[in-house]
């Protein structure tokens, strides 16, 4: 069964059930089904057909969910872009994947760039979808290896990479989730991650698979501690899934632990970065809900998981990432290529149904996928996460290639030299750019952020930009990154060459 048939089947079973609920609005399965059909006809008239890509640009609203469903019904793949993605970057994505159409919601439609690419249609998602007779159902058959969606992620060379996910990939993950959680129509899934982040696939499609409800959390509320805690209670969330940063924030600043855990909360899932063990202990003491640590890069979605057991709470390090799931085979490859045994470390390799089709515009992924993550094999054959084997960092669960950020900042005419580092940990982690201005430059913090926003995903725009007369160097002439990190907590005055 393909990914989009989940909503069609749920609407047939109970059209009055809520598919979407929460601060962003409400949509019943019958409405979602009908509106997706109406929009699918409109997209088809604009030229969208099987095998095409369609950019879906907007906030975490019902209209965007309708658009994703409409694209899938035509046998096409959707490419999500967040509301705060600038028009220039959305156009870059559209050209990169040769999108047949760009759908935009709200005032974004009027801000679509001129250079989307040849023959790319523009579709306004604010036009009403309710008028007229019930539409002819649209349910184009797809093969398991047809693309369902493309997620753009950070690339080290300065060009974003589109991770191509097939219906088979997505369904392997969704079906595992539904079975593991024993999801039912009574469930209410929180949706903390943005639609461009693969965590959201669980929230949306595990809910749709069983006719349950998903509650999208607007991006601007994603790190508002009190509001997140209120939403967990008020929306009667049964399954919560987010990066650990959000849960830590709710515990640390939002008063989550000050009131008893709601009875309706039955599972808390986290992924994207290690959750500090102290907060796992607090969470376990607060709620009887199951706690699950999920692991997997965008390229493989979730490929291992671990359910927290009481013995884990005595650890002095994060809980394991666990063992293979979703029908995948995973193992740790030692430097010499051999499979690592208990006690040994190696790079985590993944093979199986969740491994992506490939990056857009590049040769298909063949064989097992090397994650770039170093793991240690535990006595029971499961894995502990150790770290990265390259310059990729994670900021609040998002992958950031420091080299990509440096490439983009370095392309600004007023920048002579630049080094990008991260400082702080967990919630306090910041992406910091140190810039040596070119002689006579006038560009300030905002000019450089604006420049970054045109080329980088929002989460890759530096949190801080500092100006320095020069960058510290190591003995062999490389930029001394650790010295730069050391200056981030002290008050070093901004320096510019006159």
């Amino acid at each position: 069964m393909s990914l989009h048939e989940l909503v069609i089947a749920a609407a047939r079973r109970d059209p009055e059930a809520l598919a979407v609920d929460g601060p962003a609005g409400r949509l019943r399965y019958g409405e979602l089904d009908r509106q997706a059909d109406v929009l699918a006809h409109r997209l088809a008239a604009a030229g969208v057909g099987p095998g095409d890509r369609v950019i879906v640009w907007g906030g975490k609203t019902p209209a965007i969910i309708v658009a994703m469903q409409a694209v899938l019904r035509l046998g096409a793949a959707y490419v999500p872009a967040n509301a705060n993605t600038p028009p220039g970057r959305t156009a870059l994505m559209a050209r990169n994947c040769a999108a047949r159409a760009v759908c935009a919601a709200g005032d974004l439609f009027g801000r679509l760039a001129d250079d989307l690419g040849p023959g790319t249609a523009r579709v306004n998602l604010d036009e009403p979808l309710d008028a007229g007779d019930p539409p002819e159902p649209v349910d184009h058959p797809v093969a398991p290896d047809d693309l369902a969606y493309v997620l753009y992620t950070s690339g080290s060379t300065g060009t974003p990479k589109g991770v191509c996910i097939t219906h088979r990939n997505a369904r392997a993950f969704v079906d595992w989730t539904v079975a593991e959680l024993a999801a039912t129509p009574a469930d209410r899934f929180a949706n903390h991650a943005s639609f461009t982040f693969d965590l959201s696939v669980l929230d949306l499609y595990a809910a749709f698979a069983v006719g349950a409800t998903v509650c999208p959390i607007p991006a601007e509320l994603a790190y508002a501690p009190h509001e997140l805690v209120a939403l967990l209670h008020d929306e009667r969330i049964t399954v919560w899934y987010s990066v650990p940063s959000a849960l830590v924030l709710m515990m640390r600043d939002g008063g989550l632990l000050n009131t008893p855990a709601p009875d309706h909360l039955r599972a808390v899932l986290f992924a994207g970065e290690p959750m500090p063990i102290a907060y796992v202990r607090k969470l376990a003491a607060w709620t009887r809900a199951r706690l699950l640590n999920l692991y997997g890069p965008t390229e493989t979605n979730v490929c291992t998981f671990h359910e927290v057991v009481p013995g884990d709470l005595r650890r002095d390090r994060p809980v394991p990432i666990g063992r293979a799931t979703c029908g995948d085979k995973v193992w740790a490859a030692r430097i010499d290529g051999a499979v690592a045994g208990p006690g040994e470390e190696g790079e985590l390799m993944v093979d199986g149904p969740t491994v992506m089709h490939g990056y857009w515009g590049r040769p298909p992924q063949r064989g097992s996928y090397p994650t770039g993550d170093v793991v240690r094999v535990l006595a029971d054959g499961s894995f502990d996460y150790v770290g990265r084997n390259d310059h990729m960092v994670k900021v609040r669960g998002y992958r950031v290639e420091l080299g990509e950020v440096e490439t983009v900042l370095g392309s600004h005419p007023d920048v002579a030299q630049v080094a990008v580092v991260t400082a702080g940990e967990g919630l306090d982690q910041r992406l910091i750019a140190f810039v040596v201005p070119a002689p006579g430059s006038t560009a300030g913090v905002i000019a450089l952020k604006a420049h970054s926003s045109r080329r980088l995903a929002p989460y890759m725009i530096p949190d801080e930009v500092h100006f320095r007369a020069e960058l510290p160097r190591t003995a062999n002439g490389k930029v001394d990154r650790s010295a730069l990190v050391g200056t981030t907590n002290s008050q070093v005055p901004e320096e510019r060459t006159p």
């Binding site: 601060p23 906030g59 509301a83 705060n84 600038p86 709200g106 005032d107 607007p218 991006a219 601007e220 509320l221 994603a222 790190y223 508002a224 501690p225 509001e227 209120a230 939403l231 940063s245 924030l249 609040r396 919630l427 006038t442 560009a443 300030g444 913090v445 905002i446 000019a447 952020k449 604006a450 970054s452 926003s453 929002p458 989460y459 725009i461 530096p462 949190d463 801080e464 930009v465 500092h466 100006f467 901004e494 510019r496």
Partner: protein, 92 residues
């Protein structure tokens, strides 16, 4: 009950806060009422929460969840207008 701030005062407070907290003091003086905050990454999901906290603690206005949108947080002017309306509604 303290006198509610005028919209100009709210705007000035917001600009000062964003400069100080999110722009290293804005040494080049670039921030204006219409600088696109979300689009240029001056506000992101994490520090938007900091701003909401500041508004609640320092300006005494709780922002309703339904008002926390990309449209209302686009720039200082739109945030200020939303806060002013919320204040009017609360005192009406």
């Amino acid at each position: 009950m303290t006198q509610p701030l005028s919209q100009e005062q709210v705007t000035a407070n917001l600009i000062a806060f964003v400069r100080e907290r999110f722009l290293s003091g804005d040494p080049q003086g670039e921030l204006t009422e219409t600088t696109p905050l979300l689009e240029w990454g001056i506000l992101n999901s994490l520090n938007t929460a900091t701003l909401i906290g500041y508004v609640r603690e320092e300006l005494g206005t709780a922002i309703p969840l339904s008002k926390v949108t990309a449209t209302t947080f686009r720039d200082v002017r739109s945030i200020s207008a939303m806060l002013y309306e919320a204040g009017e509604a609360a005192s009406a």
